[in-house]
C-alpha cells in the first residue's frame, strides 16, 4: 500500500516538474499541486516526517525546474507544519488517529475543497512573499495572480486527489 502511495507521489512530483518547465501560459498562473501532495501524506507520518518530505520535494522542484533554489521548499514547509492541525480542524480529531483516506468519498467534497483551499493559500502566500512579488509587482497584479493561481490549483488538486483515491479505493491513503 505504501509502495503504491510512493509511486503516485513520485509520478505527481514528476508531473509538477513538467508543469513548471513546459506550462508557460501566463505570468498570472502559478500552478502547483505540491500542497495537495503534502496534505494527502498518510496521517501516520508525523509532522517532522512531513516537513522533511516537503523540504526534499520542494528542493527537487527547485533544482529540476524553477531555477531558484529554496523557493518551493520554503513555500511548502508551512503546509507540512500545519497539515495535521488543519486536517483535525476540518475533518475532525479522529482523522489523524484512524488514518482515513484523503478523498471526497470519505471526507465530503466541501471539506476536501476547503482543506485544499487553505493549504494552497498558505503555499501561494509564502511563495509570493519569498519571491519578492509584494515588493515589486502591483497589488492588482498580485491579487489577480493569486486568484487565478488559487482557483486553478484547487480545481486541479481536487481532481488529482479524487482520481488517485478512486484508483486505489482499497488503500488507506491514496
Amino acid at each position: 500500500m505504501k509502495n503504491r502511495f510512493t509511486t503516485y507521489f513520485i509520478l505527481l512530483l514528476a508531473a509538477q516538474i513538467l508543469l513548471c518547465n513546459f506550462l508557460n501560459i501566463s505570468p498570472y498562473l502559478m500552478l502547483s499541486i505540491l500542497p495537495v501532495l503534502i496534505l494527502a501524506l498518510p496521517s501516520s507520518i508525523p509532522t517532522v516526517g512531513a516537513m522533511l518530505i516537503a523540504f526534499a520535494t520542494g528542493l527537487a522542484v527547485d533544482f529540476l525546474s524553477e531555477g531558484v533554489i529554496g523557493l518551493n521548499a520554503a513555500s511548502l514547509l508551512p503546509v507540512a507544519y500545519v497539515r495535521r492541525d488543519l486536517s483535525a480542524l476540518i475533518f475532525g480529531e479522529k482523522f489523524n488517529d484512524t488514518s482515513e483516506p484523503f478523498s471526497v468519498k470519505n471526507n465530503g467534497v466541501w471539506k476536501m475543497i476547503f482543506a485544499i483551499l487553505v493549504s494552497q493559500t498558505i503555499f501561494l502566500l509564502v511563495y509570493f512573499w519569498a519571491e519578492g512579488a509584494f515588493m515589486t509587482r502591483t497589488l492588482g497584479f498580485n491579487l489577480l495572480r493569486f486568484g487565478v493561481s488559487l482557483s486553478a490549483g484547487v480545481l486541479l488538486s481536487v481532481l488529482i486527489a479524487e482520481t488517485c483515491a478512486s484508483q486505489s479505493d482499497d488503500i488507506k491513503s491514496w
Binding site: 508557460n24 517532522v48 516537513m51 528542493l59 524553477e66 531555477g67 533554489i69 519571491e131 519578492g132 502591483t138
Partner: protein, 287 residues
C-alpha cells in the same frame, strides 16, 4: 506527564520547522552561489539535454516564424552594413575622424553566438540556460545580448551549459542611457510583461519625448555601449526628484532563441584594479 510530552513535541516540531525554513530562505537568498555548486551545474547539464530535445520538436513546428524573423534581421543588418560603408567612405575624406575611430575601436569585447536551451518567463526570478560553457571560453558575468537588447548575465558556468539570470528578473538592472547622449539610469524589468521595463532615476532637468530610444550606457563592464534596448513611454515623477520612465523593450522575450554572448576581455584587468584599490583602502583604514 502527557501534557509535558505534548509541549515537547510542539517545541521540537516548531524548532525543526524554523530550522528548515531558515535553511530554505537562506538558499533562496544565496541563489547565485547555490547555482555555482557542482550538483547544480550537473543538474543544469542534464536538464538542458532533456529540455533541448523537447524544445527541438517545438522549434521544428515554428520554423516559418523563425524564417520570417531571420529575414527581418537580415534586412536590418544589410541596412547597418550599408550605413557603416557610407560612414567609412566619409571617414576617408576626414583624417581626424579616421584616427579617432582607429583608437576608439579597442576590441575589448569578444562576441560569440549561442542558443538558449531553456527560458523561463512567467516567474518573478526568471532565468535562462545557454548551450555554451567553460569549454567554450564562457565565464561568470558574461553578458547575453541580441541585436534588439540585453537578455541576461551568466551566473554559473558548467562545462557545456551556463545558467544565466534573465533581464526578466527583479534582481537585475542594466545601466541605460536616454538617447545617445542623455541621462543615465538603471533599467529594470517591470515585473509583469515580456516587453515592459522601467528606466529609473532620471533627473528632472533632462527632457525626452515618448518614443525616444534607450541604449546601454557602457558604464558597466558587462555590456558594450549603444545597444538599443527599447522605446520610452509614459513617465511619472518620484519624490519630486527624478523620473521613472516606462520603456517598451525592443526584444520580446517570448520569441527569443538565438543570442550573442559578450565577454569583456578587459574584465579581469578591471577586477584586478578594483581589488588593488580595495586593498589600498583597507591598508589606509588600518593605518
Amino acid at each position: 506527564m502527557q501534557k509535558k510530552r505534548s509541549i515537547t513535541k510542539i517545541a521540537v516540531n516548531a524548532a525543526i520547522f524554523i530550522m528548515l525554513e531558515v535553511a530554505a530562505l537562506d538558499m533562496l537568498a544565496h541563489n547565485g552561489i547555490m547555482q555555482d555548486f557542482a550538483v547544480s551545474r550537473a543538474v543544469h547539464g542534464f536538464m538542458a539535454k532533456c529540455w533541448g530535445g523537447a524544445q527541438k520538436a517545438g522549434y521544428y513546428f515554428s520554423l516559418k516564424k523563425t524564417n520570417e524573423a531571420l529575414a527581418e534581421e537580415n534586412f536590418r543588418l544589410a541596412g547597418q552594413v550599408r550605413r557603416y560603408k557610407e560612414r567609412e567612405e566619409a571617414m576617408l575624406t576626414d583624417s581626424i575622424a579616421a584616427s579617432y575611430s582607429a583608437q576608439g575601436d579597442s576590441g575589448i569585447y569578444v562576441f560569440s553566438p549561442a542558443t538558449l536551451v531553456k527560458v523561463s518567463r512567467n516567474k518573478q526570478h526568471n532565468y535562462l540556460i545557454v548551450d555554451k560553457g567553460s569549454e567554450d571560453g564562457i565565464g561568470q558575468n558574461t553578458g547575453i545580448i541580441t541585436s534588439q537588447g540585453v537578455v541576461g548575465i551568466i551566473d554559473a558556468v558548467g562545462k557545456h551549459y551556463s545558467y544565466a539570470m534573465s533581464f526578466m528578473n527583479t534582481g537585475m538592472s542594466v545601466s541605460a542611457r536616454l538617447g545617445r547622449e542623455g541621462a543615465v539610469g538603471p533599467l529594470v524589468w517591470d515585473g509583469t510583461s515580456s516587453t515592459g521595463a522601467v528606466l529609473k532615476e532620471i533627473p528632472l532637468q533632462y527632457k525626452f519625448n515618448e518614443g525616444d530610444t534607450v541604449f546601454t550606457s557602457g558604464y558597466s563592464s558587462i555590456f558594450p555601449a549603444d545597444i538599443p534596448l527599447g522605446l520610452t513611454g509614459s513617465s511619472k515623477i518620484i519624490n519630486g526628484a527624478t523620473y521613472d520612465i516606462k520603456v517598451t523593450l525592443l526584444q520580446d522575450f517570448n520569441s527569443i532563441k538565438f543570442v550573442t554572448l559578450v565577454t569583456n576581455a578587459g574584465d579581469a584587468e578591471i577586477m584586478e584594479l578594483e581589488k588593488k584599490e580595495e586593498d589600498v583602502s583597507t591598508e589606509n583604514e588600518k593605518k
